[in-house]
Structure formats: C-alpha cells, structure tokens
C-alpha cells in the first residue's frame, strides 16, 4: 500500500474546537486516480494536507510506504517531495524572474547537482507541454493563466513525486485551458504512472478521469467506490449538496420518467447510443411510447 490513513481524527483550534476529520481510514494504492469530492468545509483540503505532512493529525497515523511519516520529523522533507501538493491557484506562488528558476526552486532545495537540476527542469516543463528552449528564459508573469498553472505544476513535478495531489486545478481556466489540463493529468497518470488525487467540484472531470471516487461530508468519508458506483447514488449525493455529471443526471431523470436507460455512463456519445437503443426498443409497441 502506498499510503494508509489509520483512525485519523483532526481538530482545529483547541480553544474553539472544530472537528475537521473524524475516524478516517483510507488506503491508497499505486497508480490509482482518486477523485475527492465534497462540499466546501467537508474536510477535503485538510485530508490532503495530512497526506504530505503539512498537518499532523490530532490522533491516528499516516503511513507512507509503511513508514509513519510523523515518527521522524526530519523525514518530512522527503515525504513532501514524494507527495506533491498543487494548491488552488498555484500560479499565485510563482515568484522567480524566469520560468527556469521557478521550476528549479524545488530541486535546488533538495541540494541536487546543477546538471541534475537542469535535467529535471527540462523534463518537467516538457511533461506539462511547455517547450524548454522556448520558455526557460521567459518571465512566468507574461504567460496566460493556463500556462502559468502548468509552470506551477512543473515545479512540483520537478521533485519527482510518486503522488500528485491537485486542489481544484482547473478553477478559473477557460474551456480550452481546462481540457488541456485534464489531458495532462490523464497523461501523467497513464503514461508516467503517477498516482493522482484530484479535488474538484466539477463532476464531469472526476467521472472522466478517476478510477475511484471518494466523497466526504462533515469530516468523514461517506462514499468510496468506482465512478459508476458513486454516481449511481443520486439521492445521497443530492442530500450532500453535490452535483452529478450532467450526462449521468440526464440518464437518471430519464429513468425516473420511465425510459429505463443505464446510468453508469459519463460520455455524451455513449449516452446517445444508450438512449437511441432504448427508445427504439420502446418504440416497438408504438402506442405505448409516451412516459
């Protein structure tokens, strides 16, 4: 198991206690792509900050490759390198004069040799789809929002993480920027074999990319399963103030109106095929077609 959370409870502010996480038990294996959802304040961000040791839980253990990450505080630096965290609006954290320097910041702090730093910067920039020669000397501040975000992600990738956690990485991007970013995540997961945890309010993104969906509410994990399993819990998700992917939502609504279609579909074309085939079946007794 790559990461394990055991009996985690976390309480913020001991004077006016707010329970952020309660009785969390969670195992994450290599090469999973986890979609983490829940409304604002459900504990998602606290959970991921725990995974890379930014927050020490009030009780419980966090294991990384079977090692308790808080047992030796000196090892936390290593953990944070292996568990890369990309915050919301990461481009706000860009600060260097050139893109090269910005991406090199992490590797430099690891005390790597010059040549190795250069290799990592080059590799990371190409991973996020920015040409090294073209971009290395440019200022990160003259890029588009989507490109800035890529540079910020490259900075985390340059640490060669095994897990990449991203908190709302597509927020505020235009549709093209959003699609490009999702392609990047898919590539990192499928071709570079990085384990990914994606926090997003956009259920389409989660449905399209995740192999496993975890739903949080009031500091607890309330649903955990494949996208098809989790998004079949329509009523439960609505109770939690969460949306369904639009395609799934349409199929559920058709179902409740008597057109019995499968609801474990997230793709427009597949949904079209399913609807057409079911409407045709239904068409056989023409007079019974209405619902």
């Amino acid at each position: 198991m790559l990461v394990e959370l055991k009996d985690i409870t976390h309480v913020y502010n001991q004077y006016n206690p707010t329970v952020a996480l309660k009785d969390i038990n969670l195992s994450i294996s290599e090469q999973e792509f986890i979609g983490l959802i829940g409304h604002t304040g459900s504990g998602k961000s606290t959970l991921v900050q725990l995974l890379n040791g930014l927050i020490e839980p009030t009780s419980g253990t966090v294991l990384y490759n079977n090692e308790d990450i808080f047992s030796d505080k000196k090892r936390l630096k290593f953990i944070r390198q292996k568990v890369g965290l990309v915050f919301q609006y990461p481009e706000h954290q860009l600060f260097e004069e050139s893109i090269y320097e910005d991406v090199a910041f992490g590797p430099k702090n690891l005390g790597l040799k010059k040549e190795e730093i250069k290799n990592r910067v080059k590799e990371s920039l190409e991973l996020v789809g920015l040409d090294y020669e073209k971009f290395k000397d440019r200022s990160p501040f003259n890029l588009s929002g989507g490109q800035q975000r890529r540079v910020a992600i490259a900075g985390v990738l340059a640490l060669k993480p095994e897990i990449l956690i991203l908190d709302e990485p597509s927020a505020g991007l235009d549709p093209n920027g959003r699609n490009n970013l999702l392609e990047l995540l898919k590539y990192l997961h499928q071709d570079i074999n990085i384990t990914i945890i994606l926090i997003s309010h956009r259920m389409e993104e989660i449905a399209k990319l995740a192999t496993r969906v975890i739903v949080m509410d009031e500091g607890r994990i309330v649903l955990d399963g494949s996208p098809a399993e989790v998004f079949s819990e329509e009523k439960r998700l609505r109770e939690l103030d969460l949306d369904l992917p639009a395609v799934t939502s349409i199929l559920h609504k058709l179902n409740s109106k008597g057109v019995s279609v499968r609801t474990d579909i997230f793709d427009v074309i597949e949904a079209k095929d399913e609807i057409i085939s079911k409407l045709q079946e239904k068409n056989i007794p023409e007079e019974k077609r209405s619902c």
């Binding site: 235009d174 549709p175 093209n176 639009a246 949904a271 057409i276």
Partner: protein, 271 residues
C-alpha cells in the same frame, strides 16, 4: 437610443503590439441579459472595463445612456449607471461589517443617513442577504461574499451591472446562489446584466450571447442559435453545454428533438 452603444471600438494596451479589441460594435438595450463568452485573451474583460470607464477606447466611442465615456466629465455619471463585480469576492469587500460594506458607495454619494440605511437594507434584501447587516464579511461563504459585493453595487442604483467571471472562484452552491441573484435582479428589478463567464451553462438564460475571439466579436445571437453553431464555438476555444451537445448528437442520429438548452428541457423532449 440603447442603454449602451459601442461604436467601432479598438483598444490597444500600452507596450503591446496586438490590439486587445478591434472593430467592436455592440448595442445593449435596457433590461437585457447579455452573456459574453470567449477564451482567455479574447478581449472580454477589456470590453467590460470600457463599460464603466476603467478603460477608454483607443479608437471609436462608448456611450452609456447617451454619455460618451471618452469625455472625462462623464466618468462619474457613467460609473453610477454601470457597476462592476469582479472574480474574487475577497478583493471587493472593504469593511468589518456587511452593512458598512454595502454602505460604502452610497456614503460616498453624501446621501442623508436614513436614505443610506434604506438603500443598504433594500440591497441586502434583493441579494437574499437580509438579516446579515451586522455580520463580519470574512465569516461568510464565497457565494455570500459575492452577493454582498453585488449588494454594494446595487446600493448605487445602477441601470446595469457588469459581472466579470463572478462565479469562477465559488463552489457549486455559491455559483447557484449568485446566478439566482443575478437572474432575479434582471427579471424582477429590471437591471441590465452583462455576464462574462467560462461556464457555458450559466449563459443559457441570457437574451443574447456575445462570442469573442482574438479581440473581435464573432457572433451575437440568442443562446439556442449560438450553441447550434459548433464550428464557431470550437474555433473560439469554447464548449457547448452537455445537454445541448447530447441533443445535437441525438438529432444527428435521426431523432426529432426540438431546441433544448438544459437538462430539464432535454428530458422533457425525450419523454
């Protein structure tokens, strides 16, 4: 005359080679709900800033209720008529209580205090935040903060509000609250709304959608027409709302489906 007239406008930022806007013409009537869509760098925000004189056109003119924005004498008249709401609610709230925040604009108009009180209360009522007068803004949710920012604009009694990606930083609940507020202000209070957004689903209620690309207006039409034009949408780097996409697919597979804009309409059409 229309409430807003944009005539042959070009805009060039200092030290930039390419025009941010070129050859823009647009008339907006009182009471309309207009959405502006386009990728980053398409000129949407520049256009918005011309409407309340944060920018003045390099070429051409912008008229608001007949006042030419290029005449410095008109700046404050226009800003009272056209209010702006930006993306990040935290950057727009200035006071320690909700009522002080909403009162900021009217106080600058040097109105008598009972009038200020009345405007503040009424504005908060209109955005669904009545009763929050003495709350500190920082304890509110993103959607609530954004509605307070809108109330602060409404308290100036504008004819028109321009919202530049007001829901980009909000969660789904916050987005719904803000959208509902915007719709209410337009439909019930008759305020002209200009909404800039990257969320295509937010535009389907508008009277007209303006599609921008490379500093030019590529099309202006009602939502059902805009989202039929897949080539236009793709070339502008945009998306079609899922319900419309699915309806288009079903239609091209031979199913008879009327124009639909959202999930409910599509489900009704299929049943």
């Amino acid at each position: 005359m229309s409430l807003i007239e944009i005539k042959d406008v070009d805009f060039l930022y200092r030290e930039q080679e390419d025009k941010a806007l070129s050859g823009v013409n647009l008339s907006i009537e009182k009471g309309e709900f207009i959405s502006i869509i386009g990728s980053n760098g398409s000129g949407k925000s520049t256009l918005a800033k011309l409407l309340n004189v944060l920018l003045v056109p390099t070429e051409g003119q912008v008229f608001v209720d007949g006042f030419n924005s290029s005449d410095p004498e008109n700046v404050w008249k226009i800003r009272q008529k056209v209010g702006m709401v930006f993306q990040n609610p935290d950057n727009q709230l200035v006071a320690t209580t909700v009522e002080d925040d909403v009162a900021f604009g009217p106080e600058n108009l040097a109105l008598p205090s009972d009038q200020i009180r009345e405007r503040v209360d009424k504005s908060l009522e209109m955005v669904g935040m009545g009763g929050y007068q003495s709350h500190p803004p920082h304890e509110l949710s993103g959607g609530q903060k954004q509605r307070i920012a809108i109330a602060g604009i409404i308290a100036m009694l504008p004819d028109c509000i321009v919202l530049d990606e007001p829901t980009a930083m909000l969660d789904p609940m916050g987005r719904k609250e803000v959208l509902k507020t915007i719709k209410y202000l337009n439909e019930e209070e008759g305020i002209t709304v200009i909404l800039i957004t990257h969320f295509m689903e937010e535009t389907i209620f508008s009277d007209r959608i303006v599609v921008m690309n490379g500093g030019e207006i590529k099309d202006i039409d009602k939502p059902s027409k805009i989202f039929q034009n897949i080539d236009l949408i793709k070339s502008a780097g945009l998306d079609v709302p899922v319900a419309v996409q699915l309806a288009n697919e079903l239609r091209s597979s031979g199913l008879q489906i009327p124009e639909v804009m959202d999930i409910e309409e599509l489900v009704t059409a299929l049943c």
